[in-house]
């Protein structure tokens, strides 16, 4: 498009200077946007909450899971891997926001109380809203997003349209509360795609641990980062080890060839959860790769 030069327009800076200017403007816009979103609520949302896994945090823009946003977690199989991943994130969010209460809304059954202990969550802090239909679930989520006392909201939704998705995203931004939309799983409908209004979208499925792999107490997930924040799709193998204060394995950066679990510190000492997310082996790029995803114990 050709534009007539106006006297007000500054002369276009050449080459590298232009890139620099664009980068500066981008940070400026980000700053203005951030200020605009937190102005509406009394409690500003804290910044992104890191996963505590360097590889994932490094890949995500902002260095972690954005708060005051809606994130979608799709179940990739019939198991509860997506729920487990969401619970692990909620445990992180409750610590990062210093709020204890969180809300579950859905049509089926809420998570089993004694099972929450494995994620360092106390069932007494869970508010359960059993809804009769998807409309009620979305309504309850929107109400919860306006309650600044909540750390997070976990919603079990089968059907959602663009309008409802946008409403949720707006409510999350204004309220500063983070919502996790759980799709699919043993009770949900598989393959129901959400319109692109969630800040990030993940797909989680169970990952078999080789006998003894990752210790006997642990859940392995294959986590696909599908989209969000302009970052490229990527996949990781994540090991959740409940009850281990600082055991958090680190990544092996170069694919499935060398994917042993190593110990390493992933978070500040104050944030050390009773269970820690740990990471192994970002799978070779792309979100859809199939094949051998089983982590193997490294020899050395």
């Amino acid at each position: 498009m050709k534009e007539a030069p106006t006297p007000m327009r500054p002369p276009a800076p050449p080459g590298g200077a232009r890139r620099e200017a664009i980068a500066r403007l981008k940070t400026e816009i980000a700053r203005i946007e951030a200020a605009g979103t937190t102005a509406g609520s009394g409690t500003p949302a804290p910044g992104p909450v890191p996963f505590g896994i360097a590889a994932i945090d490094g890949h995500l823009p902002g260095g972690g899971l954005a708060t005051g946003a809606v994130h979608e977690i799709v179940a990739g199989d019939d198991g509860m891997g997506a729920t487990g991943f969401a619970l692990a994130l909620i445990a992180r969010l409750t610590r990062a926001t210093a709020r204890s209460a969180w809300l579950w809304c859905g049509q089926g059954l809420p998570p089993y109380g004694p099972g929450l202990a494995g994620f360092g969550l106390d069932p007494a802090h869970l508010i359960v809203a059993r809804c009769a239909c998807d409309r009620d679930v979305l309504w309850a989520m929107e109400e919860g997003l306006g309650a600044p006392a909540l750390a997070a909201i976990l919603g079990d939704v089968a059907e959602i349209d663009t309008r409802a998705g946008r409403r949720l995203a707006l409510a999350a931004r204004l309220g500063g509360v983070t919502a996790l939309l759980l799709r699919g799983g043993p009770d949900g409908q598989k393959g129901a795609a959400m319109p692109a209004v969630a800040a990030t979208r993940w797909r989680v499925r169970g990952l078999p641990l080789a006998p003894g792999g990752g210790g006997e107490d642990g859940f392995g997930w294959r986590v696909d980062f599908l989209r969000g924040g302009g970052a490229l799709p990527r996949s990781w193998q994540v090991l959740w080890r409940p009850g281990q204060p600082e055991a958090a394995a680190k990544t092996c950066e170069d694919g499935p060839k060398d994917d042993g679990w190593e110990n390493g510190n992933t978070g500040g000492p104050g944030l050390a959860p009773p269970g820690a997310l740990s990471l192994a082996a970002p799978l070779s790029g792309g979100a859809a790769p199939e094949g051998d995803t089983r982590p193997q114990r490294a020899a050395g």
């Binding site: 004694p114 007494a124 508010i127």
Partner: protein
Amino acid sequence: MWIGSGNRLAVVAANHAAEAAGVRVGQSLADARALCPALVTKPADGAADARALTRLAAWCRRFSPWTAAVPADPEIPGEAGLWLEVTGCAHLVGGEAALAATITRAFARAGFSARAGLAGTPGAAHALARFGAQFTDQDHAIAPPGGEAEALSPLPVAALRLGANLCEGLDALGLRRIGDLYPLIRGPKRAVLARRFPSLLLERVDAALGRHFEPISPDRERPRFATRLTLPEPSRAEAVIERACERLVGELATRLAAHGIGAQRFVFTAFDTVGRSQRIVIGTARPLAAAKPLARLFALKLGGIDPGPGIDGFALEAFETQPLPLRQRPLGPEADGDGPRQDPRDDAAALAPLIDRLHGRLGRKRVGRIALHPNHLPERAQAFTTADAAEAERPPAPAPPETGPGRPVRLFPKPEPVDAMAEVPDGPPVWFRWRGTRHRVARALGPERIALDWWTLPGWQANPAAPAQPPALGTAIRDYYRVETEAGTRFWIYRAGLHRADAPAHWYLHGIFP
């Protein structure tokens, strides 16, 4: 009806049949039973009686604005009753006799047997109501103005509310009727009477005869929180209903806040032109007096009002009122904000509005919390409690029983039967079929043996008369395995009972791990 007083059980009320058999109020329970062996007796509930009397006193304000309930007194039989100060009220229904008849008729219609006494002093009215029956065939007795002394004269001294001991003392001297006392309360004999008996006697006689003023203290009327609005002409517009609700909520909230009172139940009524009324009831988790959250709660439900031919009146009432707890406002710069700021970490208080709104749309039974129970049986280790109960009496949370991954995040309330094949009879399965899909087990952890409390099982409870045999050893147990399929899904499955050579094993899937 009897009540224990000291070491004596006394009759405090008797119905007509019992009185016909000779039972009298004030008798000891043993005497009454001796007189009438078929007597049905019940302990009296003084608190409930007092509450009922208070309600009746409030109801009686239709006859007089000045009413009071007299609670029962175990020392004075038949003391319980109602006072009505009817000065200036009788002409409204056509005179004193008509008033007394109206009142007793109204009580009879409501199922009470009541007697009325009407006199210039409370003491005389009290005596006539309780002891005047023998001199009139009506259910009320009236002393003409100034005629109290004459009307009381034939009544027994007990009519003066003196108590059993004092009555016996007077009886010993031959003073049985109130008239017998008249010569003694004037002149030099009055001093003798005062020395001999407690001052109560002279006080009561003087009060009954009007020589000494006895006040009636009315029950304090509790403030009633209600507002109403009448439209100049009926309307069917939704916006009008919303505006009316907003305005009434604002008025009511101002009044509640002025009294420092919050309410937990609000009823909004819309009256339409054909005389129908529609109600919206809102309940809140904690006492509420603020207009804004209340208006939001009503906004959820206003759509349910059908304007019909047009609505011309609204009313809003607050129930279950109680004083609001005082909130301390922070000092310092934060105090300059508008209204008290809430600490987001102040869990229960900050969450109450959210829970109220969830209640409003989803229903009270559907919103709540999960309470852990110290029970070995997985399906009984948790229970859903509604938010009301949880907020009212939250039990101290027991320490989570397991910190490891020993419990799934999805538990089926009813374990689902699966076909399974195990390699060794009492080992974990190598494959199983669940919901039509065959899963191969790659890894299994366990078993974790959980014994059932067999004494609560249905078969055992069904026949308490015949001593049933406890279930055979080893049948009321479950061996749980955490299995991981080759696809990477982790399940919690169990075998019911020990392995037996003569019966196939029954496998169930009970939960899914993350």
